[in-house]
């Protein structure tokens, strides 16, 4: 064995040992890996609110640590390994791109529990959790379809992954129902967080005639761009973004991770933690709909709230047939609803959306 490998495995063994010792501690240590800064006002901000809720719930019995601005890919593997070596009992990895790194690190630390957000790979010590954001998108789509005067709705996509594509489809289906003339323009920016790029994308969409801009990126920059333009409707993404209410931000999707984080931390404390797959929506409270402001006409607001109620009690599914795929092939028959497997791996647009999904 080479000297370096020897040292590496010695370090790893030491780490495993110290991890095991830490398990015996009274304090439960919970780690969080964030993709953006906690001050992004969107995605990471809400995860950090969940972390603070865990601290508030358990007080001295829990210790939380977090690392922000962790790039997806190898860098995140290093951060997770460090957290596990430092004795974390439970680690939440809060972005899609941490999927493979989480699985890799989890294999090295069988005694540490991992929770990966928005992914689809599980292991004995890796749970997955996500929220049915597409339910919120359905409501946004409905309001967008009713509010647009130019019939052009802009959509800022981050990465072409199932979660984002689901959102585009759900918003489009409901915008189309509300307004048959509506057209979607999608711009992919290939980042979760880059205010300048997000602002540029929003401006371009507005210049090309969009008077409603939906975003699937984490900063409030598109809101600022819409406010500057003056007559453009936006929706808060991941967080309320209430500083832009009542206009341009007319509603929002709010991620509420706190109950889940508290429940999972409790499970680790009690020793009842098991690998699970959680996918909750409006009904379970994981997806919140921010206040619909008075900039939205009262009848549209009432329809949106009715849609929200139907999605919450399960009487309506956001993907209900008849629906065709973009190329015209049938997907869902009349009254049929999409199964979770198809939704989780969604890689196609529904009929009517123009453009191609980058592969």
């Amino acid at each position: 064995m080479k000297f370096t490998t020897l040292m590496a495995s010695a370090a790893l063994a030491l780490g495993l040992a110290s991890g095991a010792i830490a398990d015996g501690d009274e304090k439960t240590k919970v780690g969080f890996v964030y993709v953006g800064p906690i001050g992004d006002g969107g995605w990471t901000y809400e995860h950090d609110k969940g972390r603070m809720a865990v601290e508030a719930e358990f007080g001295d019995k829990v210790e939380t640590v977090y690392v922000e601005n962790v790039a997806e890919g190898p860098d995140s593997e290093r951060v997770m390994t460090q957290m596990a070596l430092d004795g974390a009992d439970l680690i939440f990895t809060t972005s899609f791109g941490y999927m493979d790194p989480t699985i890799n690190v989890a294999a090295k630390f069988p005694n540490v529990k991992f929770e990966h957000a928005t992914g689809y790979k599980r292991a004995d010590n890796v749970s997955i959790y996500s929220a049915r954001f597409y339910e919120g998108r359905a409501i946004q789509g409905h309001i967008a379809g009713k509010m647009t005067k130019s019939n052009v709705v802009g959509y800022i996509g981050s990465f072409p992954i199932p979660e984002v594509i689901r959102g585009i489809n759900s918003a489009y289906i409901h915008a189309k129902k509300a307004n048959p003339d509506v057209e979607f323009k999608v711009i992919w920016v290939y980042t979760w967080f880059d205010p300048a790029k997000e602002a540029d994308a929003a401006k371009v969409l507005i210049e090309q005639g969009a008077d409603v801009v939906l975003q699937h990126t984490d900063s409030t920059a598109p809101q600022a761009a819409a406010q500057e333009a003056g007559n453009v409707v936006t929706f808060g993404q991941a967080s309320d973004m209430g500083q832009y209410a009542p206009f341009p931000r007319v509603s929002s999707i709010i991620d509420d991770w706190a109950p889940y984080y508290i429940a999972r931390t409790k499970a680790v404390m009690d020793g009842t933690w098991e690998s699970t797959a959680t996918w909750d929506g409006i009904g379970a409270g994981m997806v919140g709909i921010g206040e619909i402001t008075d900039a939205v006409p009262a009848d549209v607001k009432a329809e949106a709230l009715a849609l929200k109620a139907a999605l919450a009690d399960g009487s309506y599914h956001a993907f209900t047939g008849p629906l065709n795929k973009q190329d015209g092939t049938p997907w869902l028959a009349e009254g049929e609803t999409a199964d979770d497997g198809t939704l989780a791996g969604m890689n196609f647009y529904v009929e009517g959306i123009e453009g191609e999904i980058p592969q």
Binding site: I187, D194, A196, A199, L205, Q208, T220, E228
Partner: protein, 306 residues
Amino acid sequence: MDLSAINPILLIAAMIGAATPILLAAIGELVAERAGVLNLGVEGMMITGAVCGFIIAVNTGSPTVGFVAAAVGGAVLSLLFAFLTQIALANQVASGLALTLFGLGLSALMGQRYVGIKPPRTEATPLGPLADIPVIGPIIFGHDLIVYLGLVIVAATWATLKFTRAGLILRAVGENHDAAHALGYKVKRIRTLAIMFGGACAGLGGAYISLVRVPQWTEGMTAGVGWIALALVVFASWKPWRVLLGAYLFGGITQLQLNLQGAGVAIPVEYLAMSPYIVTIIVLVILSSDKSRAPGSLGRIFHASG
């Protein structure tokens, strides 16, 4: 595909705006490099300028004061680099990288209470009837003052380097600092001033992002513009007008690719996304096939005993 959705007038106007932060940062770095100093801290100075400008603009309500504060902030941070490399004689590459890391951290700390706040609006320059001229009006006369300031700085830098004694001295220091020293020029003083000019320009460029382009403060919001500016100086062969060309090309193609995506052009998005980098590099490499080369003393430490 619907190319008619792209408005060429708005596109060109947007291009000029998008290019301004890169242009400002690059022209400042150009002056520093012509004086023989390789400062890799552009990103750090930009983000510090962005936060300084933002804080002051929010507190005073005046974007103009904000921009002045941004230039001062960038210059003050660059003094740290000047101290390390000119007085402590530290390695310029390492010091520059340290400056970037320090600037990113410092700005995050300073900006903590300013997340989610809206800065005062930077108005377009009041050029009266000129802005109403069709086509040319919105493209040339519809911008804020900083855009014109950027162009003035480029022209002034070019003229100073080419035609004035001060420019000649600056270039002499950059080409051969021992010879310049032997002639009695204060190498360290001249380089410190060049570094501060670079810092001030980078700070202005950063503030243009936080006060005009986005406009709000978020951590790490310059997102690599400083590195693009650094690369641009090299590809532009240390010539001011080529820096301008490169910045406009880069800004223009960035805007164009977003527009093409919005119009639904059937080019894979990945190619569109990499196009600004590739086109800018290709054009500037072709241009620099003449005999231009780096300043002779670039990146070398000067000590008077040498």
